[in-house]
Symmetry: C2
Subunit: 701 residues, 2 copies
């Protein structure tokens, strides 16, 4: 352990003095002003002469946190005499305010010349652990909350992004004719801070505020370091993948608590498992009924003759510990607890009890308070939702994991209707054992899965999700949506203004740092997953639009510019060729081919084929007003024929039954159709983001 | 005319000198520093003694716009001697830089004590005319573009809102312990500036920058005024309502350019008009065919025996002038030009020609380049969209006007499927004559219309739309969506309907100032219109959520907080009552009643009835997971039974065919259902906004 920190902890102090904090900075090559601690007025006089002027005098006292407010700071000292009198004045003032404060002297420091004041911070986020913060000082952080976060440790690229991400960053590149400041120096301080907090777990908070950045170099004018003896132990990041396998492809399942009454949750779970696709054995456990849905019941899981790989519990919460104990004795190693009535109702002890029982027998638990699992290939289906009320999607590449069963059900039905194949679906509810990190690791190695969608509310071990994501995103895209942004945000907010942005900002930064694509609402989550599941990645971000009704293209263009994506500048040759071959009613610009309401399938074919061959065009975006009578059903073949070019195709069409029929027909050959321009552009953006993520990560990892 | 402005215009100057601009300010009671123009060094010496110190010296020269850069400013003059030497220095420096500049002396002014620097500006917006701007000086305006706009003239409330709307406004209320500054003084300057630019049309630009605001009072330190001789004449705001009547309820319509070939636009327009609801006479004009769709054709509109009230043109663009001339001779007074090929393709002369011809005969034109009109009551329907491809909505309260036919078609089909009744639909395309302002005025007085939805791309006479909106919004809600917001979007819009879009920020401010509800995308536009069409306005903004699956409620809570709306604090009595009467599996908090997946229709009924009776609850928001088997179809009666309480009900449900069936069943009794929590909350927000608008406007107007 670092000696400065060790000594402070040894003295049972939770805060370093400023000279200590600065010495720690110096050890990590973070530049601080030339300075010296004077312990007498004579020392102040002498030291000042050696340091040069102007100087600042600051009280050194672990008990005096707000130095300026305590009268402990004097600026602009110009001579040894002034230094001596400043020494006396500072000590006198602080003693007046707080007679009991232990004073360790007065720090004399050269004043830094003016520059841009920035803030570098680090904290221990309760979900994500060591987190770095960067912002420009004063109103930008305090009023506008214009800050960037990254989890430590960071790469050089991460540090550069932090600097580039803040809105006020143009202040660093020269504002109103002032010279640009040294961004590289900020990057070095961020990297050094990352190293400092990573190597020293005891550092719980660190504030370099202000850091004055000059044309060349940057200097930390004030530093504050808060320590803690307690270490934040986290569950190990690595999930034993084997332990999850049984949840998806069990040979035999026991459903415990199967009611004989149709409509009851246990009954419906048993129905979904026993009457449809799942080919394994399904045993209903019910102590009173003889048979349920024609199947012989068992009084207890212990009465079942053969092996049971997976138990699904729909029994009342308070019976869960004893039921789990029986499962353990039976040798069951995987349990899905559908029942609610645990932590979400304040029954934390009951939840701890089931965790203990499970540990004792080596059982892994999914839930409680969840709807469980759908595996489209094994047919395993633990939903209590009747088939006439809820569609199940066909097998395919998307794994979806969700804390909320409701969102899960919605997305699965949307997927079923729009031809998105699902590999596995997991609802994990209260997450007493298996969490998002485990599942991301599992799907990362799952050959049936190539796209991962996640909905989370609260996070427990965010760091684990982050680390799991880091390992997966270069190979498989992860799209994530988090709710619970506002309430939780304030709770985790620290007293220091820099952290007022709250926990959603940290979570979002962490997800992005791990290479996940962050969705802001459930439509975005679904739409991006849909594009990733159906289309190849583009080679660039240029979109070309072809339409027979231009209104939505105007909106799309707005969105494309807002996202900073390119709209293809269609090459002059392609424009000339299109003008030659398309009918005269068509309006051809460098960004959009508007076939107008007179546009036919043949016009679409001509336009799209030309654009597909233009190397400047990376994404084809046909907008289709199917209601326009001149457009006939040959358009389906036109779209299907575009797939051979290997460029992603994103369609947009909205309307009633006829439009939906046509859209679904297009989706049968895996070209996605979106209802609005905004949704189409957002989906295209998802593809472009994943292109960048895969490119960057394959280089840096 | 103001004498200062008159004299400057007389001297053919386009810019006032600083002393002139400040004298103008003084005439409008805007405070400027005590100052005097010195024309000799002796005058400078003497004047300074009278003014007091410190002073600033500034060159007075209409040719020297950037005074500081030209060396024309010296700060912090402390004595008459310094004033004299500053006089000489300023003149010498400016002459060196620009020997030809006419110099009218040196302005000596008392320096204002430090305070918060703000900017008040006014400009002549090409679409909206005189527009005011407010922001905090320096980076806030220049880097962060944190500014508020309003059209002049403004009310006192408008001025207060401008101050409150900027993000950095907390700087005015005291930042880092500094005292709050005088917001009332800013409001007074805004009001005075509004008066100044309104009374003096020649003032095209005005910049009060900086205005230094103190704890008490505010002073304009620099002022710049740009003049123009040319007046910006606008079309009179008042639309003769009678001239539009014929478009919706004509007795006889001629469709000119009816092709005999099914699928061609002219043919399909004639089919829509002649084969469905419209009961009036429909005459097809075609010079070659004998009959079309069984109806005798006419070679020209002049050959039609009876009166023709409305002509629908689907002829090629270049024949439009002669066809219109024939219409004029026939006495037709209303024409819809469906055909494209005018301004949007660069054929501006052709468009001018039709406008001229129409003026000659007093014909009003809708279009060109549009899909025309649907009147659900008269049955008038000019769409070229076949009925088997496009649903038509039933009669009801919503008027919808759109520049884009495509958006129109989409929204009409959505409305048809979700039981939203439409009074009238108008697509106006290139808008060569009838514009949004006309239509808003028309719908404002239309007894069949009680909600107005608008989609616009570019605007021509934005001021007219604004003024028309002001007259309507207190009585009838207007929801507006504008695209063409970015450079790219605007470019795409131009090639669509021939109109460049202006600054979106100004347009948005103008819409809001007129009391319109601004939607950011087409879903928002549709969703808010749907809620306004189906539900009463609430008495407040408190929402109570009841659900059988809480995930979307978390997202809704985020959105509710983001919008700054209230989430009902359900009274203690109601909470206790609900805990008593609901089953134990229900989770009851002060904001949400979670019936959990076990929730039944009876549970919903119990919960919703209690909440409907709670006076703290203003909006009921049931979330319905219809897929959950315990929820049966009695839920329909439960929702229907809630209407008697007169509180708005906004439902949320998403999924596949079963869920859609249930949602549509709810919508048959005019309770709207939304697919996502975000959309439901946004719809509720629309109701709350309209409540505020109606309340505020009924007081202020």
């Amino acid at each position: 352990m670092n000696t400065i920190i060790r000594d402070a902890l040894h003295a049972r102090r939770t805060q370093l003095t400023e000279p200590e904090a600065k010495a720690l900075c110096t050890q990590y090559s973070i530049q601080t002003p030339k300075g010296q601690v004077a312990r007498t007025q004579e020392e102040a006089f002498e030291a000042s002469g050696k340091l040069g002027f102007p100087l600042v005098a600051k009280i050194v006292s672990a008990q005096t946190i707000h130095k300026t407010e305590a009268g402990g700071v004097i600026l602009n000292i110009q001579s040894p005499e002034e230094a001596k009198s400043a020494y006396n004045q500072v000590i006198k003032r602080v003693k007046q305010r707080n007679p009991d404060a232990r004073i360790d002297g007065v720090l004399l420091e050269r004043m830094a010349p003016p520059g841009v004041e920035v803030i570098v911070g680090a904290t221990e986020d309760p979900q994500f652990g060591k987190t770095l913060m960067f912002g420009i000082g004063g109103v930008f952080v305090e009023v506008l909350q214009d800050v960037a976060f990254k989890l430590a440790p960071i790469t050089d690229d991460d540090a550069k992004r932090m600097v580039a991400e803040i809105h006020s960053q143009s202040l660093l590149t020269g504002f109103r004719g002032s010279a640009p400041v040294d961004k590289e120096a900020i990057v070095e301080i961020l990297m050094a801070t990352s190293k400092l907090v990573t190597e020293n777990d005891a550092v719980k908070e660190l504030d370099l505020n202000p850091v004055i950045v000059h044309e060349k170099g940057a200097v930390v004018v004030d530093a504050r370091v808060v320590l803690s003896q307690t270490s934040n132990e986290r569950t190990p990041s690595v999930c034993p993948v084997d332990s999850l396998m049984k949840f998806f492809k069990p040979e035999a399942v026991a459903v415990i608590g199967v009611s004989a009454t149709p409509g009851r949750i246990g009954h419906e779970v048993f129905r979904s498992l026993s009457q449809y696709e799942y080919a394994g054995k399904v045993y209903p456990v019910n102590p009173t009924a003889e048979t349920i849905l024609g199947t012989k019941t068992f009084g207890s899981v212990l009465d079942i003759p053969g092996t049971v790989n997976l138990a699904v519990l729909t029994t009342p919460a308070n019976s869960a510990p004893s039921v789990l104990d029986e499962c353990g004795r039976k040798g069951v190693q995987a349990a899905i607890i559908v029942s609610g009535g645990f932590k979400e109702t304040g029954m934390n002890d009951l939840e701890s009890q089931i965790v203990e029982t499970a540990k004792k027998y080596g059982i892994r638990i999914l839930g409680p308070n969840c709807i469980g699992i759908l595996d489209s290939r094994s047919g395993l289906d633990t939903f209590f939702h009747a088939h006439d009320r809820m569609l199940r999607p066909k097998p395919g590449p998307v794994a979806f994991l969700t804390q909320s069963g409701t969102y899960g059900v919605t997305i699965l039905e949307w997927a079923a209707e729009e031809n998105i194949g699902i590999s596995k679906f997991v609802s994990y509810g209260n997450r007493c054992d298996i969490d998002e990190g485990d599942l991301v690791q599992y799907f990362g190695q799952d050959p049936e899965t190539s796209v991962i969608g996640i909905y989370v509310e609260g996070l427990d071990n965010g760091r684990k999700l982050y680390e799991s994501g880091c390992k997966v995103t270069a190979r498989k895209p992860i799209v994530i949506l988090k709710s619970g942004r506002t309430g939780l945000g304030s709770k985790t907010a620290k007293s220091h203004t820099g952290w007022l942005a709250g926990s959603y900002e940290v979570a979002k930064a962490a997800f992005e740092q791990a290479g996940m694509i962050v969705a802001e609402d459930v439509e975005q989550l679904y739409d991006i997953v849909k594009a990733l599941a159906m289309q190849p990645l583009p080679k660039g971000s240029n979109i070309a639009m072809v339409t027979n009704g231009a209104g939505p293209c105007v909106m799309a263009a707005d969105k494309i510019e807002e996202y900073g994506m390119g709209l293809a500048s269609i090459s002059n040759e392609t424009v000339s060729a299109l003008k030659r071959v398309l009918p005269s009613y068509c309006l051809i610009s460098a960004t959009t081919v508007d076939l107008t309401g007179s546009g036919t399938s043949k016009d679409y074919d001509t336009a799209l084929q030309h654009l597909a061959k233009d190397p400047e065009v990376h994404i084809l975006m046909p907008f289709l007003v199917f209601q326009d009578t001149p457009l006939d059903e040959a358009i389906l073949e036109v779209i299907a024929g575009l797939r051979k070019f290997g460029k992603p195709i994103i369609c947009c069409a909205a309307g009633g039954p006829y439009t939906r029929k046509m859209s679904k027909a297009i989706e049968t050959f895996h070209v996605p159709v979106y209802e609005t321009a905004e949704r189409a552009v957002n989906a295209a953006r998802g593809l472009v983001l994943q292109l960048r993520i895969a490119g960057e990560l394959s280089v840096s990892r």
